[in-house]
Symmetry: C2
Subunit: 365 residues, 2 copies
Amino acid sequence: MPTSGSGVNKPGAAAGHGRAAGVGKNKTRLTIADIAREVGVSPSAVSFALNGRPGVSEATRTRILQAAERMNWHPHSAARALGGAPAGAVGLVLARPTRTLGAEPFYAQLIYGMQSVLSARSVALLLQVVDDTEAELVVYRRWAGEQRVDGLLIVDPQTKDPRISVVEALGVPAVVLGGHGKHGELPTVWADDREAMLETVRYLAALGHTRIAHVAGTPAFQHTQRRIRALKDAAGQLGLAETQSVPTDFSDGEGAAVTRRLLSQPDAPTAIVYDSDLMAVAGLGVATEMGVRVPGALSIVSFDDSVLTRVVHPAITALSRDTHALGVQVAEALMRIVEEPGTVGDIKAATPRLTVRESTAKPGR
Amino acid sequence: MPTSGSGVNKPGAAAGHGRAAGVGKNKTRLTIADIAREVGVSPSAVSFALNGRPGVSEATRTRILQAAERMNWHPHSAARALGGAPAGAVGLVLARPTRTLGAEPFYAQLIYGMQSVLSARSVALLLQVVDDTEAELVVYRRWAGEQRVDGLLIVDPQTKDPRISVVEALGVPAVVLGGHGKHGELPTVWADDREAMLETVRYLAALGHTRIAHVAGTPAFQHTQRRIRALKDAAGQLGLAETQSVPTDFSDGEGAAVTRRLLSQPDAPTAIVYDSDLMAVAGLGVATEMGVRVPGALSIVSFDDSVLTRVVHPAITALSRDTHALGVQVAEALMRIVEEPGTVGDIKAATPRLTVRESTAKPGR
DNA sequence: CCCAGCTGCTTTAGCGCTTTAGTTGTTCGT
DNA sequence: ACGAACAACTAAAGCGCTAAAGCAGCTGGG
């Protein structure tokens, strides 16, 4: 039912209708007609002047601009959009189970980075948080139908991602954040997770670790798969026999539970790589609780960096990247594809670099 | 020729018209006119049917609704808005220094809670992150001028908050999150910070603490002031001589620095209350680093709760509240004030309750 | 048997802006 | 000196939708 809950709309309530000619002018919006009257020209002249198009003399243009400024006029976004202009907004949908959401500073930083590009162009960000991919698709369809957004950012690409084809079919320009390849025609901004994982494992191996575990994220995510594969490949190259990847749902609870299980094994790993900072911190907590000294008996690496990893003790070695800068890159790509579709290819963001802190050391007792 | 008056005006000339309408890709939006044509009625009949207003028979209404459904039609939000309908969006501006932003799960949870109300009504959330209050005002002015939002949520009210009067002047319905009183005519959703602080101090005093410190947030925030005052009052009532509040910028860095300073004093506090979970964790880190045992030699309480406090060791005693539920309350108030201005008064949210974990105990030696 | 009073539509107007097609008044080329 | 080219405007149409007004056809009270 496309119609049912149409926003805040409450047509019935408006029945009272005080538009009578009698009483003082009801609060009307300031329009270009007002400016036109003020300056003594036609509305179209005002439009020309405001949009920097030819058709008015410099003198008139200046007078119009000054009047608009003085009267504190702003274009009515709906009126512009109706004429075919872009909506002036891009959309971001976050599909995350409640618990984990918000624990990760990643999206907040990303959004902040995006804003520095968007707000410079006066483009708004429409944000929606939903429960699952199904709900996400509904939002995309609605936004597209309502012409609310000019572009979309799709995050956390999955291995078989239904969103790609839906968004492509809707014809809304979009950028995928997070993985290389397999996004239909949509360009992607991606970081080299594989290389990052390889670097991490090489480092741990160089320290002398052979039993390395990987507390992974949701297997449905492409980047999870890539990291798992990278670990396996690295293990092969370096001759590490006992590596393992354990999938989780990214929650601190599972991170803790898996860590407890790993550390209880007869041949417990001497190093654990966590796919998120929150899980790494939770893992550190478990180690402390079990009396496993970090980094003495266990080295810990987080695949994501943030205040979290710095604030705990010992501070956690992490793969850090400039999330703010990533947001800038993403937003720029998005603006580009909105303005000139087809001109944007895949963009490689900086590879996360290992920031060594206090949680990693030679394995020993 | 059902509707378009295209026959009236120089039919020949219309052929050469602007858009590449001539050949092939006729990428026109689906409009109610299309539905009207399909069903064999006028556009207004379609409008009536879709909006559930009288003026069409039930039979026709059904046919129209089915056609709309089948053709997957969605109302063009700009067209509706232009007619005077609400924009179908509410705005939230976060003014925060980069560093601290994102470290706090609070806003993510709040937004998630708001969405459960907003998305049920198909109202979008416009989010903007800015550097300071000045920039925030600019955004409000623009959004109001562009008629982009129907309502605003103002967070972190300050002691002398310039935003209140600006927003009131703009005439945009708004709700203030966070403090009681002094918001002009704007209603507020507030939690009883004072009571929460009193409860905390009473608890600590009951444990036997007399030297209690408070690592506060930014003094400009109303809630910071309220907490500082509450601590002072509690100290008076309970006869605690050496309490103190130290303002910070909410960052983990200052939280750590202040903690270090406090613990280095000759008569170091035996309990510290932190205004944010991030600072509490940072403080815990400093204590660990300085060899001050928690809770043995120092009790720690966080004024905000989240995964953060649970994930560290020892887990931190915190004032917890249901942020998601708060988001729901806020969004409901906002929707209400948008639809029926004047009917919303101040709303008191649940008082944060002390969740005792492992970081608090009797003061030790 | 006429018309007030419905019901169920259609027509028309208009929201604020952009855009295209005029319409002046000037200046220039020859 | 006279039309052409141009500059600087104005007029008007139209984007998709809602809402007020209009208008057929029917009903039923007098």
